[in-house]
Amino acid sequence: MIAIPSIPGFLTAPNGPIGKPVSRVDGRKKVTGNAHYAAEFTLPDLAHGYIVSSAITRGRITRIDTAAALALPGVIHVFTHENRPSLAWFDRKWKDDDAPKGAPFRPLYDAEIHHALQPVALVIAESFELARYAARLVHIEYEAAPHQTDLRANRANSFTPGKDKGGFQPPPKPRGNPEQAFLESPVQVDAEFTQAAEYHNPMEMHATTVLHHDDGTLTVHDKTQGAQNCHTYVCNVFGLAKSAVRVMSPFVGGAFGSGLRPQHQLFMAMLAATQLKRSIRVELSRPQMFSFGHRPETIQRVALGADRDGTLRALIHEAVQESSRNENYVEIVVNWSGQQYKCDNVRLDYKLTRLDVHTPLDQRAPGAATGVPALEIAMDELACKLGMDPLELRLKNYAETDPNTGNPFSSKELRGCFQQGAERFGWAKRSPAPRSMRDGRELIGWGMAAGVWDAMQGQAAAKAVLGVDGKLVVSSATADIGTGTYTVMTQIAADVLGLPIDDVTFCLGDSSLPTAPIEGGSWTVSTVGSAVKAVCDRVRSQLVTLARKLDDSPLTGVAEEDVLFADGHLIVRDDRSRRLSITDAMRGSGTLSIEEEARALPYLLARARHTFATHSAVFVEVRVDEDLGTIRVSRVVSAIAAGRIINPKTARSQIQGAVVWGIGMGLEEEAFTDHRLGRVMNHDYAEYHVPVNADVPEIDVLFVDEHDDMVNALGAKGVGEIGIVGVPAAIANAIHHATGVRVRDFPITLDKVLAGLR
């Protein structure tokens, strides 16, 4: 395998599938129940594991009595720290591709309890129900130690982290003299913002089924966003040969970042399978989904100073977030504020506070979904003080180049998002004063906000096998967490080779496939899509070479770049009567199949000199009951600039889903921690609220044309995160416009509005 950059110059068919609203290629499997998830695989001798969660938040286990559990017929074994086998000793063996700096949590490693619901034992039994029952008979005595889980109470103990996680950039150094410029600004906003901790809560709970084969090899069906990440992890932790384990994750029932790191159910299932030499399934309960990774609670301060004409003079954005004692989970919260608006005097500050919690974990638009709303509410407040339209204020301070680096953007159509979104929403008809629009007892508010997210790219490889029957199979070890990866990769491959969608199969979610990174950060289309294009380009070159060698070839003397691929044919661009089918080209040359593998890299030179980002403008209408404070989002327009949209149907679904979550962030989602117990108390779907259908209005998504030659060979940036980023702020701003009540504390539940309505 050699690394080659993709060649954007190759022609794709004018009517190819890229850019078409192709329905999900895996849709039929999903709606007919033929898409199998991690907990659905089985073998006849499958045993079931149930995890016992710690009853305390910090301290140590002084005694474990498993006798009552083991006495039940059908209970096979109880694993604890006392009887676990020897495991990897060095921290680096426990690291994974998304691990921040620090010592990864090791399940069942010792008697120490570091956080609430920490897994402390694993009961294996012949049935799930029995394992669950037996888990309750495991008697554990603890010696509790004092814990700290309250961010506000501990924020004085915060520290400035370094570049402690892949993809994380510490804030840039201050520019200008922000404190003085703020003091001298005639118009000022200075406010504190809080964001509650949120849990990913995908519909599918984390589960692992390890199938133990007769030859001792293991097939591991895991809920993950990175089969290879988990493969490396289990091989390292359990000292297994790479060839002895295969991790599969063809379908994932939502993840949102929760599957970026190997989770403890994987460890548990592997522990039991390797020790008992049996097939094992371990599935977390819904409350146990609150036992690992979450969007960290955050306290922020944003201070803006402006001239009376709206020119930003000073921008200060500070954030403090929680992390665990063992790892420095970091995310980019404040840097966006230096990038989003033109301002000469900027100070950005980001700190962590260690608490007795499990390590937080990337959750959809990590950092941006927390930091950008604070900035965007502050901008709205500034607009109010200036008596200026909030959209106009943003245009006034529009950053044509990246103020953090001075570099140009590879492309930035945020202005188009503002204009087209505003037009679709009818923003011009907004009456500027708060409480000036109503419908009966409902106060109506219109709010808007901008959003931004990185357009990242990693390295990935892909393999393509084209058969003489014209069927193409492309594979890469990436994931589809419901986002549409299967469909989009199929489109890219079909497009490059001019094949019907139905003749292309894309395989993913298998550690044995060509290397791909964890699926997150909106980088999969860019990263894996580029590899798919690269490998299909190589197949294409092979086909042209084969075709040219044929006797009486219609392609004789035609340069490769003058060959079109469409309808399963190679076609001369300037004389479309000169054509040859792919199957004829292969048959004629005696070729049974063409196999290629290729790796795609980001355009590193271009990346060093430009900023790559997606942008959005979100417009929201809310209706607030003037007496009761109940809030309803009644209309959303989300305008997105994300380069070329490979599939407007799946992309629209991504944005709509993100807006739904944005409504949740804005109005509903909050993990309530009882700080005396150090424990999240609303750990189920009944009391941890996410939006239900009745909360979600029609969501109008529009994609703004954005041409980008530099981002990658596809010109596509990825849309997984950008849809959520501006939504909570737009809702908060709309609530202020409706009611005159400014809430800076997410989620904005009715009590917070009611307090201002008195």
Binding site: S53, E668, F672, E687, H689, V692, R758
Partner: protein, 332 residues
């Protein structure tokens, strides 16, 4: 879950006979009990399945009211035409609760007996006097956004989660019970109890008692009534505050009034003094507010739920206003 014995009752008398043993529970729709068993919160040693008993009918009573069978499903009750036209607040209350799927399974009798949704009741690693008497109340001084502002004790501040029961309380329903000592009728106001020193006991039912029916009196306040539920999302959430309101108007004057609140106490909350404060008075927001203040005179908030006091006042005013404005009995 823990092992338990299972028996299917052949008749109401059989059910009562089988349920005499301690640790035995009736099961019908199972929408709450089975969840709590899986969560290890409830640990019955035996279940007596009453779901096949012929108690699922909705029938006219001699007094001109309706008898709701204990085993009639919530959905069948809510969509019963007689309920919709004669007791619209009841229909509305049922449809404000749970989800369509749950309402299809859940029975009326079971709804009366559903347990609180207090976080601490559900989490067996935390103290809860209702789940484990004497272990303490986690919610007091803990996370208590959804908890009681009325009638609580220093042992328990949990609330009853039902919507249906709030309307039944407002309608002066009567619970029909058969038990080891024969049959008896329990006025709805007396059916649920306040936590006091025994928060583990939700109702006045005695061991072996089986709810067979709920009787609605003839008076349904069909012309001027409503059920207002305020919650943290538009559906599938328990009430922060809910109000069942019924008015009998003579011109602009209140001749009779019913007011019951959900989400605020260990039982659906009624206050005769608040209702008396409405009678004979004009049906105006000011009067409604005055009545609300009577009802809430002893309300006491905790760290996270004090907003409910103000919210309840506003909700009462809104519900009574809507009830007063409403003409006829719109189908929900």
């Amino acid at each position: 879950m823990r092992s338990f014995t299972y028996a299917r009752a052949a008749s109401a008398a059989d059910a009562v006979g089988r349920a005499g043993a301690s640790g035995t529970a009736f099961v019908a729709g199972g929408t709450n009990l089975l969840d709590l068993m899986k969560a290890d919160v409830l640990r019955p040693e035996g279940l007596v399945d009453i779901s096949r008993l012929p108690l699922d009918r909705i029938e006219e009573t001699a007094e001109g009211g309706l008898r709701l069978g204990a085993l009639a499903r919530n959905a069948d009750t809510a969509y019963d035409e007689r309920v919709q036209t004669r007791y619209p607040m009841l229909s509305k209350a049922i449809l404000a609760g749970a989800s369509a799927q749950l309402r299809n399974m859940a029975t009326n009798g079971g709804n009366l007996l559903q347990r609180t949704r207090c976080y601490y009741f559900y989490d067996t690693a935390t103290p809860c006097n209702k789940r484990e008497p004497g272990s303490g109340c986690g919610a007091i001084g803990g996370v208590n956004r959804i908890h009681a502002i009325l009638g609580a004790s220093d042992r328990c501040i949990a609330v009853h989660p039902s919507d249906l029961c709030v309307a039944l309380a407002a309608l002066d329903a009567v619970v029909q019970v058969t038990g080891p000592d024969g049959e008896r009728s329990i006025p709805f106001a007396d059916f649920h109890r306040l936590p006091g020193d025994r928060p583990e006991i939700d109702t006045v039912l005695r061991p072996g008692d089986l709810v067979t029916a709920i009787d609605l009196p003839a008076k349904g306040f069909a012309e001027h009534s409503t059920y207002l539920k305020i919650r943290d999302r538009a559906s599938y959430a328990f009430a922060l505050v809910s109000v069942a309101a019924g008015l009998e108007l003579d011109g602009g004057t209140v001749r009779d009034a019913r007011l019951a609140l959900g989400g605020v106490a260990h039982k659906p909350w009624r206050d005769p003094e608040a209702e008396a404060a409405l009678v004979g008075k004009p049906a105006t927001p000011d009067r409604f507010r005055a009545a609300a203040r009577v009802l809430l005179r002893d309300a006491k908030g905790h760290e996270h739920n004090s907003f409910k006091i103000e919210l309840a006042e506003r909700a009462i005013v809104r519900a009574l206003t809507e009830a007063a404005e409403r003409k006829g009995a719109p189908r929900p």
